[in-house]
């Protein structure tokens, strides 16, 4: 396996976990969160600070990163889950802008626009993933484990209640399901998985800066969930594969990397418009953001 293929496997694995966690809140809970990318960023920055600045081992830094993102998700969720669909998206968009400014300007901790380098590779009990291939195996294994846990959760009564609340919060409340409690918990769980994806991202790339968690990344993630299909466990996997592989064709064109990045964003934006117009439930999804 070439270095490029190994890197692609790592990125696919990370984004599948990230998209699956957004699918839990957006597809099953009806809460499309623009803050998900900054929760991904919190996981990445937590791991980067702990391993690169404080020199802690990866195996200790990883769970702390997950807890950090989950705790912040609990705080954001406690504020925002009271809001309905489009209000929720706007409120989480403002959280995104706030945290993005913290990433970009809190220089002693995040390095500001210079970012943080020298982030530890995945390691445990004397073993360390030094090559791209080892990182790809570790990341794919972690993603597989995460998807298994999320898959089990999606079949649980908890998520069935969440779906009922998404479809009719008043009716679900009438049969004893507290909408705010379910929404808050699902948001916290999704945030923790976003934190895990962020920690895996930081340890794979070895360097992070605020651009990796900008609004452009949210549009990509949103396109993954919308095109793949929300409200179905297969949606994030299909969406990630389609949206990762579709712009690969741009590499064949004689254009600069900056132009290709802009062309990708144009493509993702148009895909969102097209999906909402033609097939809001995406390729394999069951929820059409109604």
């Amino acid at each position: 396996m070439s270095m490029y293929a190994a890197h692609l496997v790592s990125m696919l694995s990370i984004y599948v976990v990230l998209a699956a966690s957004l699918n839990l809140v957006a597809g099953y809970g009806g809460m499309l969160s623009a803050a998900h990318v900054v929760l991904f960023g919190v996981g990445a920055y937590a791991l980067a600070c702990l391993t690169s600045i404080l020199g802690w081992p990866f195996l200790i830094a990883l769970p702390i990163s997950i807890v950090a993102a989950g705790s912040l998700a609990f705080v954001v969720g406690s504020l925002c889950v009271r809001l309905s669909g489009d209000f929720f998206l706007l409120a989480t968009l403002s959280v995104h802008v706030l945290l993005q400014a913290v990433f970009a300007n809190w220089i002693p901790v995040t390095g500001g626009p210079y970012g943080i380098g020298g982030i530890a590779s995945p390691s445990a009990f004397g073993w360390s993933a030094d090559s791209s291939l080892e990182k790809a195996f570790f990341t794919a294994a972690a993603a597989g484990g995460s998807l298994a846990i999320l898959g089990r959760l999606l079949r649980s009564p908890f998520v069935r209640s969440l779906q009922a609340i998404r479809d009719n919060a008043v009716a679900a409340g009438a049969v004893g399901k507290d909408p705010l409690r379910f929404r808050r918990r699902s948001f916290m769980i999704a945030g923790a998985f976003a934190g895990l994806a962020g920690a895996l991202y930081a340890s794979n790339i070895g360097y992070i800066d605020p651009h990796a968690f900008a609004l452009d990344e949210f549009v990509f993630l949103l396109a993954v969930v919308v095109v793949g299909g929300a409200g179905d466990a297969r949606g994030p996997v299909v969406g990630t594969l389609v949206l990762f592989l579709m712009p690969e064709g741009l590499r064949l064109l004689p254009i600069t990397a900056a132009a290709a990045a802009n062309a990708r964003q144009v493509l993702f934006g148009l895909l969102l418009v097209l999906a909402m117009r033609v097939r809001p439930q995406g390729l394999v999804g069951r929820y059409g953001f109604n």
């Binding site: 009271r82 489009d86 998206l89 706030l98 300007n105 919308v226 993702f268 934006g269 909402m276």
Partner: protein, 290 residues
């Protein structure tokens, strides 16, 4: 201190144009038009290109209004109207608007480059007013802002289509029973709203220059003003924008400018959380709160 207040009034009147344009679209149609920021940006770039072809302010003004109005109408016909026909949810409309914003902005970056540009007006001699110094663009921003607010007031108060606009915001079903052509009224509102955004885009371009992401921060401020103004109140959005402009400039006296977008985002979050009708349980959404 007085200098900060006058700077704030001038900047606030510029944002008031954007806010009134947004309110003219959002209140009657229920479309939370994030792509309004893209209309603002395209107008600013149109002024930049027009000034390069023929260096005259009249050319820049005509080009920016023509391009802004065309972009707004194109978005209505290609993105929002089809969703309105199939009665898509406000969340689906919001996702489409988000996609359209990103597609347009990155198309601009693809064509014109991502770097910031100035309109090459050079350092203009300042105007002395009440012991403060204002640039000619700031003075123009204040004059055009006041004229724009007056024009919107006259339109809403003294024209038949203005009455229909208020009626559409208040009771759509009743208005349609009177035989009003809703698609034409919507097109007119997008035309008017986009022309106001274009004027704001032109003035901002002359003041601080242009870059592809310039519209988002200004749009967030306009959205905060419209949400703070409350439902069914058009002109209050303009006054709220002026108040926000003053508050933001006074905050500059104690906080670095890098935190300005964060302050606006925090205000948006607070404004959303304080809206009773946004809460789960009553479950109305942006589109329903007309």
């Amino acid at each position: 201190m007085l200098q900060f207040v006058f700077n704030g009034i001038s900047a606030g009147l510029g944002v008031a144009l954007l806010a009134l344009g947004f309110a003219l679209i959002y209140r009657p149609t229920g479309v939370f038009h994030i792509a309004h920021a893209a209309v603002f940006t395209t107008s600013a770039y149109a002024a930049y290109w027009a000034l390069h072809v023929y260096p005259s302010m009249a050319t820049a003004g005509i080009a920016s209004i023509a391009v802004g109005c065309s972009t707004g109408l194109m978005l209505e016909w290609a993105v929002y109207r089809p969703l309105a026909v199939r009665q898509a949810s406000p969340l689906a409309v919001l996702v489409s608007s988000f996609g359209a914003y990103f597609a347009v902005v990155h198309l601009i970056a693809l064509v014109a480059g991502s770097e910031a540009k100035t309109l090459g007006r050079g350092l203009a001699s300042p105007i002395r007013f009440a012991g403060t110094l204002l640039t000619p663009v700031q003075a123009g921003q204040a004059v055009v802002g006041i004229l724009g607010m007056l024009a919107v007031f006259m339109y809403l108060r003294f024209t038949r289509t203005g009455q229909w606009t208020r009626a559409l915001a208040s009771n759509r079903t009743l208005l349609l029973t009177l035989g009003v052509n809703e698609p034409r009224l919507r097109a007119l509102l997008f035309l008017l709203g986009s022309s106001l955004a274009a004027a704001a885009g032109l003035l901002t371009a002359l003041d601080i220059g242009i870059h592809p992401q310039m519209g988002f921060g200004c749009f967030l401020m306009a959205a905060v003003a419209v949400i703070l103004a409350g439902p069914d109140r058009f002109m209050a959005a303009g006054w709220a924008a002026v108040g926000l402009g003053v508050a933001q400039n006074l905050a500059l006296a104690v906080l670095p400018a890098i935190w300005m977008d964060s302050i606006v985002s925090a205000l948006l979050l607070v404004a959303l959380l304080c809206r009773r009708e946004a809460l789960v349980g009553t479950l109305p959404s942006l589109g329903d709160s007309r």
